[in-house]
Each structure stands twice: as structure tokens, then as C-alpha cells.
Symmetry: C2
Subunit: 197 residues, 2 copies
């Protein structure tokens, strides 16, 4: 395509990223090459570092650069509160909102009979263990407002029974909406107006 194997290969790999196709990958690569000092060099270097250091937090499932992520290590975080999210991107969205001061638990998806995703495929047994081991008294469900998210929330409510105060994000999360698309204000409002399950 560009008649250079390395450039073609770079375009081909970039095109596999979510949100990019062949055309936007070509544009991105041309821009990177033109702004080599500003984009291509720093990107290559940072990717190499991240490829070497990125890892999943063994406690909460967040992605960071150590065995225990910065949030789990942060002693100013309220230890009795746990916010349950589907995905790391949702955890980051909560953090951008800056309204939750406890810790997180990334379950890694939603229950789905169709896709064969049961409690064991998500980290739900581990959630139960953590609640006991860490003396958690309040769990906030920040799952996406989708059918699968609601099903999963009900399952968690049944699993935890009355062992903790349980609530879920409420006001402000539109039906069918995904957390990662919401602005900080909406997430903040939803957290403050959370309703007990």
C-alpha cells in the first residue's frame, strides 16, 4: 500500500484497534510519521514501557503498573466501601467523576446465559470473599443500565443478602446507557441519589 513493509505493518496493526479502521489507521500513521518527535517517538517509547509494566491489580482488577494498584494502595481511601463495576473503563469513568472515595471491584463483564458467562466467569465469588476479608459494610453497584447489568445487579443482591448495605447508581443513568459515555456531573448525581436495593 505505502510500498514499505514496516509502514504497511504499522497501519495494519493500528487498524485492529477499536474505533479505527484501515482508513483512519492510514491517516493516523501518516500524522505520526510527520510528527515523529511529538507522536511516533513518544508513542513507541511509552508503549514499550506499558507493555513491560502494565498489569491487572490482584485485588480489584484495575489495570495499573503494580501488583496492587494505586487505588488499593491509597490509605486515604474508605476501606469499608466497595464500588462494583463491569469493566476497567467504568472504574476510570468513576475516578474521573471524583465523587467516590472507597475502593473498587471490577467484575469483568455481566452475566449472560446466552454467552455462557456465569458467576465463575466474572469475579463474583471473589467479591464475596473480599467483602468478608476486608470487612466491607457498603457495596455500591455501578453497573451499566442495560438488561445484562440489571440481571447481574439482582444476582449480586441475592448473593450478598443482608450482609452489607447495598445500593446502585440511580438518578441520571439513562436506560440502556453505558457508564463510560456519561459526563462527570451525571455520574456524580447518580452516586449521590443512589437507592437501596
Amino acid at each position: 500500500m505505502s510500498n514499505s513493509n514496516d509502514i504497511d505493518r504499522l497501519i495494519e496493526i493500528m487498524a485492529r484497534l477499536p474505533g479505527l479502521g484501515p482508513r483512519s489507521a492510514r491517516r493516523a500513521v501518516l500524522t505520526m510519521i510527520r510528527k515523529r518527535a511529538l507522536l511516533l517517538g513518544p508513542l513507541a517509547e511509552t508503549m514499550q514501557t506499558v507493555a513491560r509494566t502494565a498489569r491487572e491489580c490482584l485485588t480489584c482488577g484495575n489495570i495499573g503498573t503494580s501488583e496492587t494498584c494505586a487505588i488499593c494502595r491509597d490509605e486515604r481511601r474508605a476501606t469499608g466501601e466497595l464500588c462494583v463495576v463491569e469493566d476497567v473503563s467504568d472504574l476510570w469513568a468513576m475516578e474521573r467523576a471524583g465523587v467516590f472515595k472507597g475502593r473498587y471491584h471490577v467484575i469483568g463483564g455481566t452475566l449472560s446465559a446466552l454467552d455462557g458467562i456465569g458467576p465463575e466467569e466474572l469475579s463474583l465469588p471473589r467479591l464475596k470473599d473480599r467483602i468478608e476479608a476486608e470487612g466491607i459494610t457498603e457495596v455500591i453497584l455501578a453497573l451499566n443500565a442495560t438488561v445484562e447489568g440489571l440481571t447481574t445487579a439482582h444476582y449480586i443482591a441475592d448473593m450478598l443478602e443482608d450482609s452489607v448495605r447495598l445500593s446502585s447508581l440511580a438518578q441520571g443513568v439513562p436506560i440502556g446507557g453505558e457508564l463510560d459515555y456519561l459526563d462527570e456531573g451525571t455520574i456524580g448525581a447518580a452516586l449521590r441519589a443512589r437507592k437501596p436495593l
Copy 2:
């Protein structure tokens, strides 16, 4: 945001690429980290290579990995024909169409009084030099079908007078359309139906 400086920096640089914003950059980085062996590692490595080797062809302006690009080096290419394009991405679009067997001249934009882009800012004097030095007998203008593209085409026609056979892509290029968006078939049809200026 992710509470890791390197990951945040990677997201921040990715978000500067055309077609990506902060949100798609976050998604892309999470995907890269999850598919480290398939995406992050190979990307970092290929970027490093491209950052070291990519350069503009001194003859035509194409981006490749040598002083003279593979197209300019290719002796099977018709030496008397030159296709003039605005941008490297347009050259690549022509090559994907696979219908032009000559060589290229990337002028690097279009004339624009408003933006202070005159013939010297584009490689138009150099186009004239090449035509003499390389004994070019046919020039095909494959500029975008925009007002600026048409203005530039007229300027080139005046500059070259009757020194070469001059034509421009015609049928199939929609008014206001940009070359890089067209499918191969449309580009092929436009080349075959090119009309003399």
C-alpha cells in the same frame, strides 16, 4: 485517570491522533494492554522501526523508508507519465486502485491565498523541474474535486502550458469529494475517463 503515569501518558498521546479522542484513546489503550502480545508489543516495536526509518522520498514526496521510494525505484514504472496528487494519502489511494503505472508527484496541499499557500509552499517549481529533467510527456492531475483542488489544477495547467499532455481525473469523482474516500473502482473509472485540459 488510570492512576498510572505511563498508562495516562499513553492515552494522552493516542488521543492526539486524528480520528481518536480521549474516550477512544482510553478504549484503544485498554484493548492494547489486554492483547499485549498481539497489539501492544508489535505496535511498540514497529513504531520504533518506523520512527527510525520513515522518510520522504526526495524525488516524489511519497513516504517510505529510503531516500528514493519503492515507486520511484521501480524500473517497470512508465517513466514518461507523472500523476500529481495533493497528499501522500492520495498517492496511496491511487496505488490501491492499481490502475496507474507511472510515477507520482506529491505537491503537499493546494494553493490558498487565505492561508498564504502559494506555488513555492507547494512543490510546484520542483514539478516543473522534474518534467524537464525526466522527460515527462504526460501529466495526470489527481487532485481532490474541491474548489482549492480546481484552482490548483488551473494554476498547474497555466504553468505547464503545452509542454506536456495534461489531463485530470474526471468521471466518477464527485463534486466536493476527497480522493482518499473513494473506492478503487471509482478511481479506476475516473482515470480511464480522464479528459484533456
